[in-house]
Amino acid sequence: MIAAYRPGTSIVHRLPAGAKIVGLAMAGTFLFFVANVASLVVCLLAVLALYPLAGLSLRDALATLRPLFVILVILVLAHAWLNGWEVASGSGLRLAALVLFAGIVTLTSSASAMMGAIETGLSPLGRLGVDVEKISLALSLALRFIPMIAAVGAEVREAQRARGLDTSLVALAVPLIVRTLKMGEEIADAIDARGFGTTRKDGPDRST
């Protein structure tokens, strides 16, 4: 599984998550300007070298690439057939390097560090009238809601199985959505009752 974060103390782990995301964006852009196959091999080896540097094995690198393997093979064969082997190997190498680089960002940064980086990245928007506090609230609420909705979904499925409807997506989705919307109303009232947002000069949000 790609998503797993591996805790560690390597130099790559200690880099701020925001720096790693910016690095990924820059590396991604850079890779698209490299056309030469030999240079792309060097790029791929450089990315691979980051894995031991982060205290990860080459097996982790392979695990990152595994979900992509079939697509990579198809892509290289299609390119070879349509555009020749040079383009084929180039685009295969580029894609592999890009995904491996992205994989190392995820493997070495915890989800909370990544979300912190996203919030920090959005904070300049505060001056444009975007309420960053509300974005943080939405992020933490969504994390709490995922297991809650999965639990409600299981209940709904049980109830619909009793009616013989458990294979119908509509019969599962509609009650699930209506129940979660009702819960959402109660949760919003509870958050307002606890004074969320009252530190702002315009006072609590009473517009509902």
């Binding site: 790609i2 990924l24 685009s91 994989g103 939405a138 609420l141 109303e185 958050i191």
Partner: protein, 184 residues
């Protein structure tokens, strides 16, 4: 945005995540397994409207990018977004927004056909235009070659748009959340 809007946005981000664990439909003729998750954008847009629907999917994409395993098969993280399918994931934000925009315009007399058209426009047309462009950019295939590689998923997406339309119309009856445009 009120606190209630924030809660709805978070709920639909979580709902989209929950769709990943619904059993995948398998198309009888083609045999391509299709996951329910891409319905998240269609449903969020047509239940919450453009702004809140788009925000819900943006929140979902942020959680995936942060490395949470919320995509089908427990996938997630930057590697998935950087891969060929990443464009579709990022385009869910715009897909939900466009679906919501059309539903808002047609809200006062929304029926199944109109909701279906909204989901097809936002969740299929807009989604594929950008999703295919991303495949083409990441893989170096031409736009048409990239489009050919994803055509097999369109029948499944049409079924999903149909389901999303039924859900949207049913939820609108019992729990309407979009306001009809003032001048209509």
């Amino acid at each position: 945005m009120t606190t209630r809007d924030i809660v709805y946005i978070a709920l639909f981000a979580a709902f989209t995540a929950a769709l990943a664990v619904f059993p995948p439909l398998v198309l009888p003729v083609i045999g391509v397994p299709i996951t329910a998750q891409s319905m998240g954008a269609m449903i969020a847009g047509s239940v919450l409207g453009a702004k809140r629907g788009g925000a819900a999917l943006a929140l979902f994409v942020a959680l995936v990018a942060a490395g949470l395993p919320l995509l089908p098969g427990g996938r997630g993280g930057m590697a998935v977004i950087a891969g060929p399918g990443g464009g579709f994931i990022l385009s869910w934000i715009l897909a939900a927004y466009v679906t919501g925009l059309i539903c808002e315009r047609l809200w006062s007399n929304l029926n199944w056909l109109k909701a279906f058209a909204a989901s097809v426009t936002g969740g299929i047309v807009v989604l594929y235009v950008f999703g295919v462009a991303w495949i083409s950019m990441v893989t170096g295939l031409s736009y048409f070659e990239a489009a050919a590689s994803s055509l097999g998923f369109i029948p499944g997406d049409l079924i999903k748009a149909g389901i999303a339309a039924t859900v949207a119309v049913t939820v609108r009856k019992s729990y309407p959340l979009i306001e009809a445009p003032r001048r209509a």
